[in-house]
Amino acid sequence: ERGGTNSFTHEALTLKYKLDNQFELVFVVGFQKILTLTYVDKLIDDVHKEFRDKYRNEFQQKGTLGLLNGTFDFKDDFMRLLRDAEESSKVRAPTVMKTFEQSLKSQKTVKCMIETRGEKPKEKVKNKKNKGSKKEGTEAVATPGKAATGDKQPSAAGEKEELTKDEILQKNREEFFKRHMKAGEKSRSPKPEAQKEKGKKPRVWDLGNSNAKVLDYSNSATNGSAEACPVEEFDPDTALGDRNREPGRLYDLEYESDDEAEEEKVIQNPSKPSAKKGGLGGMFGMLKGLVGSKSLTREDMDPVLEKMKDHLIAKNVAAEIAVQLCESVAKKLEGKVMGTFTTVTSTVKQALQEALVQILQPQRRVDVLRDVMDAQRHHRPYVVTFCGVNGVGKSTNLAKISFWLIENGFSVLIAACDTFRAGAVEQLRTHTRRLNALHPPESHGGRTMVQLYEKGYGKDAAGIAMEAISYARNQGFDVVLVDTAGRMQDNAPLMTALAKLIAVNAPDLVLFVGEALVGNEAVDQLVKFNKALADHSMAQTPRLIDGIVLTKFDTIDDKVGAAISMTYITSKPIVFVGTGQTYCDLRSLNAKAVVAALMKA
């Protein structure tokens, strides 16, 4: 479900991948993180195209058996492509560096170069940062004449997807190098800024493919991603998305004026006749070749995705997560061949639904009772810690969970580590009394099912927790529930204190309690809590949040987006759902019901 970004880092390696949705292929390239290989994207595109073209027949005709039986002897082709890519990145290295004066002379030709630059197509810029860029810049100076005007055609019209993607990659690289050049140049030349910039332009860009006007525009749209990491994390698709709303920059004006209804009709029309004919059984196969099932493109999906994104945000999903979700759905569907009876909307909705269910599925077992039984067998108490911001319902849900545990026959010790809030200890004492009244010791073999361990106010929470756990071990309690004070995620000393409590006591389960009413804040809360826990832990693998308790679920009708935001950010499961303020209001999460509520119109 995280298909939006196409790169992944693990230890010393970075992986980039590309999906081919038509034939269900994944291309992955791995390289060392410290190397910034700029030809990786092009390499993966080339490999994808060659592989697909070479083995297209096998995919189409033979299906799974073809895949299993076929020998895909792609090694030679791959080595060749790799060599080409590497060479194209080194080709300009041996050029002699020109001095600044010499390049000043070329300023006279800057004007004519600026115009023609827009037409020059993808000449790849693959350099190792500064050194390479300077040398390449001189290459660019030396070859203004090569700017073939004939290339004006493809870049303006036709293969929009490929070229514009590369063009934008180009522009970003130029931006990046320009910035680097500035840094390099400051020490060398005392010339005034404006002249410096002009002088640098011809050096840095290898005859980029944009005139100045186009460039100014790209600054505004792609600046954000260019800053972060222009080569690796830049996602040309989002930039393309912006361009769609451009006043007909590269696309025809007619496209802009289409509203989505028309567009859907356009797509449905080719699919409808094929659908009619498809009903005639045997003729369908032949006609499929004639009519062709529609394969999804970005433009088809964008309006639908926009609507879906707004819908999700209206359902209280955090904004950035809605965006990322739609991105990953788009990536997964791009190029996929649609069936005959399906519209774009239904395909996108289906894919989004699957992604949402996948997010809510737990990645590990969610069975607290089983783990408690395990701990029981080893004669040690099972420790659960509750953390969260102020007022989310930690103490209330702690009481509900202890009620549930008692119902299942486990004895509970409540550790009152909230030494700050007025009345916190009394609140827990009242709960203990009521629970004991509900489950008197006589009905459980003479032992008190719930007991409170408290040391009053103002003491150190971590110390109280440690004492409570050893007390539970001595007395033979099955579960220890540790209640902590609510704290804002920005409050550094309190977060340190919480991290210390968790690091020192090593609880079996760290539960983050979050309310379902929270919106975009959920992302911030969880990220900062996890960060604090990771930063202040001495261990190699720090204890992070293990599960989420979603509270006040009865107050939202179907705006259940908070569940999605929280699980997306942490990839940890929602262990409990609180649906009210009495002891019985504890539920477990039903992924399908939540997703159904989310997708409801």
Binding site: E1, T64, V357, R365, R587, L589
Partner: protein
């Protein structure tokens, strides 16, 4: 057209599903059954299906479907294919079993209490894979451990808090008989345990040791 639909419906339960945890060996088993050759496999992210012709020429064939074992994908794919299942092969990694027994049991429990599975009662084969490794546990041991674990799971799952829309998590179905320890014979479907090795004792070049698996498949078809 209508005839085609009817025929489709009749042959709708011809599938044999390969289920199991991640790295149990499902995809390699799938490849071996179909091609007889060893392939390097990766973690599956989508299902693969192909028609398998039974070896003793009964002109019967079943569709083998290999589903991904990853936690976030497995239930989704199970939903999609459970109605078409005539038989289920649950692949267990015999080497890592001790460590993973709880996860194995939980997945098996989820498969067994599923209402569609209970209604159709497809034949269940538990294939204890990776027997070529010396530390592999035997089928008998795996059976005993699974029975014990499922016994416990029955209790904990039905005691879990009810689900949001009211349906209980453990399903109203009670696995096996109440009051007695859980046994695989208490299930409405036929359950068998088989040992096999997808890789084969001679390593990658040799054949896989799964005659018992093939025999069972022949019986099912």
């Amino acid at each position: 057209v209508i005839w085609r639909f009817v025929q489709g419906r009749r042959s709708s339960r011809k599938a044999v599903l390969l289920l199991g945890l991640c790295d149990a060996g499902k995809t390699l088993l799938f490849a071996r059954l179909l091609t007889g050759r060893y392939r390097d496999t990766q973690t599956s992210i989508t299902d693969s299906s192909a028609v398998y012709r039974v070896s003793n020429d009964k002109s019967a064939n079943v569709t083998l479907i290999d589903l991904p074992g990853h936690e976030s994908l497995r239930l989704q794919f199970l939903e999609r294919f459970k109605a078409a299942a005539r038989a289920i092969v649950f692949v267990v990694d015999s080497v890592a079993f001790q460590r993973e027994v709880k996860d194995v049991a939980e997945f098996l429990y989820q498969v067994l209490v599923d209402s569609t599975v209970l209604k159709n009662a497809p034949a269940l084969l538990i294939a204890c894979n990776k027997q070529d490794v010396t530390m592999a546990k035997s089928a008998k041991l795996i059976q005993q451990q699974l029975e014990k674990e499922l016994n416990t799971l029955r209790v904990t799952r039905s005691a879990a808090p009810t689900s949001l829309d009211g349906s209980a998590t453990g399903g109203p179905a009670q696995l096996g008989k109440k009051g007695k320890d859980f046994d695989f014979s208490q299930l409405p479907m036929k359950v068998e345990f088989v040992e096999c090795s997808a890789r084969g004792s001679k390593g990658e070049e040799g054949d896989a040791d799964f005659e018992s698996l093939e025999k069972w498949l022949a019986k099912i078809a």
